[in-house]
Structures are given as structure tokens and as C-alpha cells.
Symmetry: C2
């Protein structure tokens, strides 16, 4: 099975995806009968490239890393042309791989890219949480109406299977709710605070070490966790919410004393993302720092460790934990989504599609 | 898609499977286009039943629970006749559901039942760890040569996805090793010991509460954990070992002092099952009580909680945790294996099978 891929966005994640795909190409052919060819790349500031016969994407990644350009063009026009070009491919699968920088308060431009991919007859894979957090119902309906996939395993806990876990390995199960630690930056900071550091120096150190962003507000104010919470609730519980519907409390100067006090009481302060169903059927989604009992699985997570505890009707509470983080994990999420598309394509050729998860 | 099922063994797990299948029948039809019909049941002491039009299995379960018999026959002859009968079914899928009592030191009679199912052209699903622990290579080769499935999700951590997790959600990934707490009885006992109980009273209490078996030696001597370790190593790392190849240390009277000492040092004594690859390529598999650092994810597991930490090449360490245990979870493992068979069947009708996991 041949998959032609167009890469919208070619930052750290997109470039690592390109090299990872090259590294695992033989394995994907052997195990999955899947051959992937990157036919186009569009970027905002490094130009764009197109070759229907396939681009040497690792070389393109090196060029961009050395400050070079992929070729003329770039930006929204190049992206539109790229997707239009991909739509004309006669490969078995046409997949847009979306990894642009996200405006987390609006979910853009990722939502527009996914929308355009689907309306052009291409499968859409994104590393961004925006589309699932803001527009899951619309996009999954659009995808399923055209027998296309809209996948985003990398949106929460990088390549650790969350959405795939539920869809592929928990058939006929209902997710009743969840709680998790899903933002690595705030978990790093809280780990430092409970060790006695003050907030500002801890944050500055995280920034110096590249763990926190130059503008850390999206993490410390809980926006990143809220977007992940909305994505999880939308997909696993059909919540139909946006991150603006998540009751959100971040961490700040006052968290230092709270973290130390929690630890003195044998507890651990963690930024907990959770959702449950209220008696009226609506979803209550919350992000807030909570002093957890020491024997809570989430309490034991330090630094970049993340975890999600699913409450299910048949399996009770099931937790999946990411103990390390890396760019490769995020890039792998895109590879695993590609494999999902290939497997679904194979199944669909034989029978009508299953109900969308 | 219609699946005819023959149940070999009808103890607690087999009976809960029958009722769970009835409870989720509509869901399986809607979500998976899968209709399941139990056409036969064989037991060792409660007779056997056969009806090509379908048995009312929940009623049969109630009858057995009230001390009744399913009908004449039973034992090995009935099982052979049952599988021969199933093999003549013209349903889309013919599946043997194996839940007999296991001789954990030999893997029998589960291995024979799986072997007979496969050689008769039926898919084989078992709740037992014996077949994967003792005969994985043979049985998986036999299955794949006949385009049949040999599945056993319930063998480790009940219905929590382990084998499905790796096969379905981690494509193109290598498992380099694992460590876990996979035996609930010993974890219950160690939790009591670290709280200050002595070994014999703790064990007696577990037996009184139904947590430990009347003959607890398979658990406390580490046999159960060793069988699970062998199954995990065989499937995830192609180890080709048996439980006899696992270096095995159980727990006993001396564990009480060790557990208290560990806790005083801020550590936790847990029965850890692990495997890794030695420089010569062979697998080193071990079950032993280990005093873990308090911040080890496995240290935080108390009582019936189990967890497995996979070391992978692309995702680093990934952990999956079972925080509660129940008969429903074990029975659910069989349901999830049935769904896997249905999905694979659908994919196989369209294309050659993928390489066996």
C-alpha cells in the first residue's frame, strides 16, 4: 500500500517525523505493507517544496536546520496548493501531516488545515490538540462522511497511546471519566517547588534548560492542560466542549508554599486534569492544582512523567503512564496514526466502516 | 459477522464471560458488526451441552451455579466432540473459548485445548497463561499457518490491554525489556507485611477473604508471576522460554522483616517480574522480591493493583496499570480477544495477513 504524504509545518516535530519515517521505512513495509512517500512540504518561513515522485525529506530537514529554504513560496497559499496537489495523487492513501504552531486559545491554524485536508479528500493527521479540543465533532463527522481518518494521537502525552488505546484495545467499553497529569512543564515546576525552590527561580531554570517556553503562560496558566482535557473529553466521552469550558486554575507564586505544605502533610501538589459526567449528562472538566494523597498514582509522577487514569465501566480504573518525554515520541505519534490509517483502509476495502470511536 | 463459540471450561471466568457477552451483545453488533452465539459448552464435572442454534448460556450459568448439570458427558471426550462440532459450523468465525483450570507447572490442559482448536480450523482464545508461557512459538506458528488467531489477553493483568496494547497501538516499535508487579495475591500480602503484619496471619487473612487460594504456593512461590513473565517475554520479546527458565524467588516468613525494613528505609518491597536481553541476545527473566525506591511507579502499587512498565526503543518507558481487579475484567479479556478476531477477519478478507506480532 502506497501512502503519499504532505507535510504542513516543518518544525522540530515535522522534521523528526521525516527522519523517523526514513529510519522505520523498511519496518513499516515489512510489518504493515505500507510504503510512505513525502511528496510535499509547506512552511511559514522556510519556503515550500513539491515533488510527486517523492522528496528526500531527511535532506530537507537538514537544509532547514542549517537555515536554508525548501524553495519558493510558503505560507497559507503554499499550504493550499500543497493539499490540492496531494488530492490529485493516485496513491492508495493521501495523508496531510499537520504540525504547525498552534494558537491554543483558538485551535488555529490546525483546524483550518485539517478541514481543508478532509474537504479535499485527504486523511488528516495532526500533532496538535487544537482540532480535537475545539472542533472534534465537526471534523470527525466530516472525516467519517468521506471514509477518511482524522487522527491526533500526539495531542496528549506525545506518542503514548491514549486515543488508540481506547479505540483499538477497549471495544464495547464506556469511559466514565478520567484524571491525569498531562502537562510536563508544570509538573517539572511543581516537583522543584516541593523540593523547596521558589516559583520564579524554578520557572527561570526550566526556561534556561529548555523545559519551559520563553512565554510559559500557556503552561502555568493551565491552558495547555485545559486543551488536552477538552480533547480527551470530546473523544473519549463525546463531551462536545472547548478548552474555554474547562474550569481552569493554573499554578503561580502561591503554589510554592502550597507544594511545600502538601509535602509536609505527606501529600503531593500536582496539576490535575479531570473530567466526569454530571447527573444531567453534561461533562464537568477541570484543571487545577490538587494536593494528592501520597499513594495516588498521580502523586508519584515527577518531572516530565505524565499519566492518565481512565475510569471505565468494565475495567475499573486503568492508568497509562509516560515516564520519559522526547521529540521522537511526539514524532512517533504521527507514525502510529499513519499505521492506523493503513490498517483501517485495509479493513474498509472489505467491509463497511465501523462506527467512529 | 456471525461467530459461533464453544466454551471449554465453565468455571467462574467462563460463566461471567457468558453473561457479559449477553449484556454487551447489542453493543458488539452495533460497534463491531459482530454477533456471537454460544453453541457448545464442555465442563469436567458439570456435563456438556451442544445446540447448533445457540445455547442460552446465562441460563446454563445459573444452572451450574445452583449445582445442576448441563447435560450428559463432560471431560476430555466431550471437549473433543465439542471442538469437532464447532469445526463443522458454517458461521464466519469459529472460536474456542478456553477457561479450564491450569496446571501452571506444565501449562496443561490449556495447551492441548488450544492445539486441538487450531488443528480443527477454529480460532483459539484462552484466559490461561499456560499456552503463551509454555508453547507460544508452536501455537502462534500453527495459528498463523492457518490464518487463525491464538489470543490470550487475559493471561496477564486480566482484561487490561497488554498484548493488544503492543500489537495494536505500538506498530514498528521494539520492546527491549519490562518490569512489573503482576501477581495480586503476593502484592496484597506484601502490603500487609509492610503495615506490620506477620506472614502466616496475613496469608491466612487473605485466604479467609478469598484473595489467596486454599493452596497459595503457586502465588507465594512466584510460579504465577513466572508464568506471566514467560508469556510476556515470549510474546513481546520472542524469548522462546518457559516458566522454568525464569529465575524465581518467592516470598515467605522472611519477607515480613524485609518489608518492614524496606519501609523504614523509605523503600517498598514488591515481587517484581522482569525481563531484559543479555549481550548474547538471550533473555534474562527474573521474579524476585525487590526493595524499590519509593518514587518507583511499582512501589506505589498496593493490594490488588498491578502494573507493567515496558522499555521500548521509540517511546522510552511506558507503564500500564490495573488499579482494581474483578472477575468481569478477566471475562472482558475474552470479549476483547473476540473483537480482535472479528477485526482481523475483516482485514484479512481484503488483504494478506500482517506478520504475526
Amino acid at each position: 500500500m502506497l501512502a503519499d504524504l504532505a507535510l504542513v509545518g516543518f518544525g522540530n516535530v515535522g522534521r523528526r517525523f521525516a527522519t523517523l519515517l526514513a529510519e522505520r521505512g523498511a519496518r513499516l513495509r515489512d510489518d504493515e505493507d505500507l510504503t510512505c512517500r513525502i511528496v510535499g512540504i509547506s512552511t511559514r518561513r522556510h519556503g515550500a517544496a513539491w515533488d510527486a515522485a517523492g522528496i528526500d525529506a531527511p535532506a530537507a530537514a537538514r537544509a532547514v536546520e542549517q537555515g536554508g529554504s525548501l524553495g519558493e513560496g510558503g505560507g497559507a497559499d503554499a499550504t493550499a496548493a500543497l493539499i490540492a496537489g496531494l488530492a490529485r495523487s493516485t496513491a492508495d492513501l493521501r495523508v496531510v501531516i499537520e504540525t504547525t504552531t498552534l494558537d491554543i486559545r483558538a485551535g488555529q491554524p490546525a483546524i483550518d488545515h485539517v478541514r481543508l485536508a478532509l474537504s479535499s479528500g485527504c486523511h488528516a493527521v495532526t500533532a496538535n490538540k487544537g482540532p480535537a479540543a475545539f472542533a472534534y465533532e465537526e471534523l470527525s463527522r466530516a472525516a467519517s462522511a468521506s471514509n477518511l481518518a482524522f487522527l491526533f494521537e500526539g495531542a496528549v502525552m506525545d506518542g503514548i497511546p491514549i486515543f488508540n488505546l481506547v479505540r483499538e484495545t477497549m471495544p464495547a467499553i464506556d469511559v466514565l471519566g478520567f484524571r491525569g497529569v498531562v502537562n510536563a512543564t508544570t509538573n517539572h515546576i511543581l516537583s522543584a517547588l516541593e523540593d523547596g525552590e521558589a516559583f520564579a527561580p524554578a520557572l527561570a531554570r526550566m526556561q534556561a534548560e529548555g523545559i519551559a517556553e520563553a512565554d510559559p503562560s500557556l503552561d502555568v496558566d493551565g491552558w495547555d492542560a485545559a486543551a488536552k482535557t477538552a480533547a480527551l473529553a470530546n473523544v473519549l466521552m463525546r463531551a462536545g466542549i472547548t478548552p474555554h469550558d474547562v474550569r481552569r486554575t493554573g499554578i503561580g507564586e502561591a503554589s510554592a508554599a502550597a507544594a511545600v505544605r502538601a509535602r509536609a502533610e505527606g501529600r503531593r501538589l500536582r496539576l490535575v486534569a479531570s473530567a466526569g459526567r454530571l447527573p444531567d449528562g453534561s461533562i464537568d472538566a477541570v484543571v487545577a492544582p490538587i494536593a494528592l494523597a501520597a499513594d495516588d498514582l498521580l502523586a508519584g509522577l515527577r518531572g516530565q512523567a505524565n499519566a492518565l487514569v481512565l475510569s471505565t465501566d468494565l475495567l475499573g480504573q486503568v492508568a497509562i503512564c509516560q515516564l520519559e518525554g522526547s521529540l521522537t515520541q511526539t514524532a512517533y505519534a504521527l507514525v502510529s496514526d499513519l499505521v492506523t490509517i493503513a490498517r483501517q483502509h485495509r479493513a474498509r476495502r472489505a467491509a463497511p466502516p465501523r462506527r467512529t470511536p
